[in-house]
Symmetry: C2
Subunit: 358 residues, 2 copies
Amino acid sequence: TKRYSITLLPGDGIGPEVISVAKNVLKLAGSLEGIEFSFQEMPMGGAALDLTGVPLPEETLSTAQRADAVLLGAIGGYKWDKNEKHLKPETGLLQLREGLKVFANLRPATVLPQLVDSSTLKKDVAEGVDLMVVRELTGGIYFGKPRGFGTNEKGEDIGFNTEVYSTHEIDRIARVAFEIARKRRGQLCSVDKANVLEASMLWRKRVTAIASEYPDVELSHMYVDNAAMQLVRYPKQFDTIVTNNIFGDILSDEASMITGSIGMLPSASLGESGPGLFEPIHGSAPDIAGQDKANPLATILSAAMLLKYGLGEANAANRIENAVLDTLNRGFRTGDIYSSGNKLVGCKEMGEEVLKSV
Amino acid sequence: TKRYSITLLPGDGIGPEVISVAKNVLKLAGSLEGIEFSFQEMPMGGAALDLTGVPLPEETLSTAQRADAVLLGAIGGYKWDKNEKHLKPETGLLQLREGLKVFANLRPATVLPQLVDSSTLKKDVAEGVDLMVVRELTGGIYFGKPRGFGTNEKGEDIGFNTEVYSTHEIDRIARVAFEIARKRRGQLCSVDKANVLEASMLWRKRVTAIASEYPDVELSHMYVDNAAMQLVRYPKQFDTIVTNNIFGDILSDEASMITGSIGMLPSASLGESGPGLFEPIHGSAPDIAGQDKANPLATILSAAMLLKYGLGEANAANRIENAVLDTLNRGFRTGDIYSSGNKLVGCKEMGEEVLKSV
Ligand SMILES: CC(C)[C@H](C(=O)O)[C@@H](O)C(=O)O
Ligand SMILES: CC(C)[C@H](C(=O)O)[C@@H](O)C(=O)O
């Protein structure tokens, strides 16, 4: 049997509920494929702030760094919203991404035939959408220096940040995106604002240069404002999108809402080597936390991405993905994706149904 | 009779066609309200590049600065896409905004009952959407310094830009937005990324401070990624949105596509004093240029904004707005908003029909 060590970071709000369900699914799918897991559960986000005073304790980061993969629930909540920057749950998440050097964030947005009615888009626009946003995750304006507060020449207070990309950073995320596009439908759309920003001009230049290594992938470029429109107008035009950290933050959330089932969407964050970070793209949903109402499928599908992209265990990953589809086909729905004629279940029961299908 | 001087900047692509139609509508609506216009038509964008070698000739800018208001068609096209930055049509537009000091960009996104089917969103989601994006237009990452290209400590090439806002810049755009919200439904949503960016933290702090001057307006805050989702999920929740230059670029385009009729949407850019800049939010559409296919209504409605926000001539503005609605009610449609049962017309004929209704 193969053995992997997985760091679990339940985090805040609905995080613990969905992680506990996903852990069971991961265990079962693994055991059916001769895989054994050891789990280390560590505090992170608001939970860590309450326990240790910081959003990412050193021990949590070092445990995660030694693991084979990291599965995160969700972080944040009203309670910590007014905290100073270094004491925000979000800061812990950024430190985790930086500490794990996971520069490539993969965010699929897929409209499942079973859930096409959940989209606010017309059926013919939404059905068949199957795109992947590859977001640069450890650079750009999120981490660029200088940043901070100061005064300008007129004596007015200012707040400032730096959007900066190096050739190295662009080249490596471009390669990840080209590799992914190659395994999908062979189309890569690079999104930037090269008509205005120098950082985007370099981005476009390097992505274009890297394209010569991937003659089988068709590269196009789009300005970010147009991309925000095109996702609403005709989302099926997109296969793989590659973009910077802040544009990726915005566009991947927009794309996920276009599917109408944000409770279904997983994500993977990968580095050159070392453990990947896997998490649902939804937030901690403090309003429904502890009520057994959360949809655990996004986290379960994140566990599938963990198996596939993090451990190279495609068979176990497929088991989970098929189990989720089977469970949907059998009519089980949490509240967020419920429509009449189906069976409304809570977080735990949804997990049990998926286990039956694994 | 009152007299106003208007600088017309037809620009590129469909720009000249829509400007020529809108000019006639402006003339007629004015004359019926005892207003006379003098027009100066000046080159701008790609047209100016071809004619003079620069995208915004000095004489164009100085003419615009002396005018009472400026009406722009559209700029840009494939021909100039590969130009160096200082020779891009877009650079001329940014110079014009800076030169006119029009820091407040107003972008309404309204779903007209006549056109609700043009939206890709489901009818019940799209109908009744009536929001206004107030975008900061002369600051932030578009103009922040330092910017450019260089090398980092590892010797790699970098491209960089600075996102920077001063209290003064935030306060004045916030006041414009509060004033507008006050005249609308009294709700202002400020969009930022204050969980990550210092520039956004200052933004949130100042907008919150200015709110005390407007006790009748309800202020809320939203992160930009969430705003991009909420516009798709439930756009009716928004009344007035205020945000920075780059987020406003992205969100206003997304919002405009949600209406489904981008050929209908005007915009106004205003400064403290001096002439405002009015333009349709659509681009130059080089693929249909010169074919009499363009929808002139966005430019005609921009002329209405020019009368209302630029000259304080609400009566003439209302004449135009009502004429547009009347023309739609009479069933006239350009190709972009055509649906069966209506009368398909070209750019010129649409203009003539609007003239009949003025
Ligand atoms: C919580 C926040 C810092 C984070 C981000 O902006 O990256 C989130 O929005 C995300 O997309 O994972
Ligand atoms: C053409 C471009 C420079 C411009 C911008 O980004 O401001 C356009 O997208 C707009 O929104 O008016």
